[in-house]
Amino acid sequence: MKEFAYSRARTAAEASALAGRSGTCLIAGGTELLNWMRLGIVAPDQVVDIGAIPGQAGIRLEGDTLLIGALADLNRIAGHPLVEAHAPLLGQACRSAASPQVRNRATLGGNILQRTRCPYFRAEEPLPWGCNKRRPGSGCSAHRGRNGEHAILGWTGSCVATHPSDPLVALTCLGAEVELVSPNALRRAPVGTLHVTQREARHAGEDSARYENTLRDDEMIVGFRIPAQSVTGTSYIKVRERRSYAYALVSAAAALRVEGGAVRSLGLVLGSVAQRPWRLRGAEAALIGQPISKDTVHAAVEEDLREAKSLPDNEHKIRLARNAAVRAVLTAATS
């Protein structure tokens, strides 16, 4: 790990001003940043600790909106009565992430800025193989090599990474907004559009492997706003190689409102299939007004996933994604 200077920020404005300087990283929990620094994914000169900024870890209700501070940790969120009452889907997703120890430390703001679990990306310097995220132009070893856990949507030949967060999938499904502070402004954005796929990065004229989100250098996440929805059921399904303490192969979040036997509203989002949460807009629209049955949900999801394109090792992920999405809706319907 390279030598760095350490300081503590007292306010969010002060931290965001420092964040804009090159060579500076913010640290909150640190469960990601420490490993990035060990591997050489980042090598900051300056680390600014935002973990003790007052008033940034709160969870409260304001009218019909649940507000969660960026510094709230995953276990506090999962166990909070307001989250249980107004966004149990988020609690479920938080509880399914990492281990109890990591969840006590990991903040929600940091969680959604975690980076891909691609093993070619998470290698120690000096990098023994190509990775366009780590070294521009060095090639994507996963695209040519082992890619069983990689993207089935939105990828390009220069990067096939997925975003591994569980809470981000739930937040997207619930239509949450992220609040971003910069030295001169506060802005809000739908959390589901903060990250971009490799294809979207390329269309925006950016480096398709390195441009991962629309956060500016001098912006800092300070909180999340979750509309308290009138849903009749929600469900988060996480498919993984072991039942606990593993990253998702595929995950699916559903938030459903059924009235008189028919779907009135549906949020349906997949995780770990692309570099951002993947909303199944086609299936959401197709199911409105329909009764919930395994056949109708299956058909709608299958149709929506026709655009998925597998890599040599991950054809199974298309079927996993379909089944997880169907199960999430059916579980939400009976919860």
Partner: protein, 166 residues
């Protein structure tokens, strides 16, 4: 130009308590809580396994909550109260009920994961995640045991949860 050449401060002073005793440390900012516990405070009960937050053997309590000490900079611990495995027994040397239960149930073999298992078990019980063997397994999943003492660890946690109120 690197930080040192620019004359910026790469050392940091931290006040904290470990097992009820006050400490002041002045360390390179890169120092993790884990490395400082072992090398600085000479409390080598806390073990270093994967050093990336995957194995749980470095688990300690920070302000009463279990965390991986390899994923925390000492600099982030200003004012924190840390409990390590050395702080579980009472001042007369009587073992903590969780330690007693681990011995009684033979909940270890090589012992390398045990300090982390003990701290995690103390926290798991205090959190109330001991309603069933499944619940204990889920909430102890952040501590790996390569000898495979999981059934005995689960038994020890369930047993002590019935007898001991934190």
């Amino acid at each position: 130009m690197d930080v040192a050449a620019r004359g910026e401060q790469t050392a940091v002073g931290v006040r904290l308590t470990i097992n009820g005793l006050d400490y002041f440390a002045r360390v390179d900012a890169r120092t993790t809580l884990l490395d400082w516990l072992r090398e600085g405070a000479k409390l080598t009960g806390t073990k270093k396994g994967c050093n990336e937050g995957a194995c749980g053997t470095c688990t300690v309590l920070v302000d009463g909550r279990r965390m991986n000490s390899c994923l925390i900079l000492l600099a982030q611990c200003e004012g924190a109260e840390i409990t390590t495995v050395e702080g579980l027994a009472d001042s007369a040397g009587a073992l903590h009920p969780v330690q007693e239960a681990f011995i009684e149930h033979d909940a270890f073999q090589c012992g390398y994961c045990t300090p982390g298992q003990l701290l995690s078990a103390v926290a798991c019980i205090a959190e109330g995640h001991t309603g069933s063997a499944d619940e204990v397994r889920e909430w102890m999943s952040g501590n790996l045991c390569r000898c495979g003492a999981y059934p005995q660890i689960t038994d020890a946690v369930l047993d002590v949860a019935e007898r001991w109120a934190p």
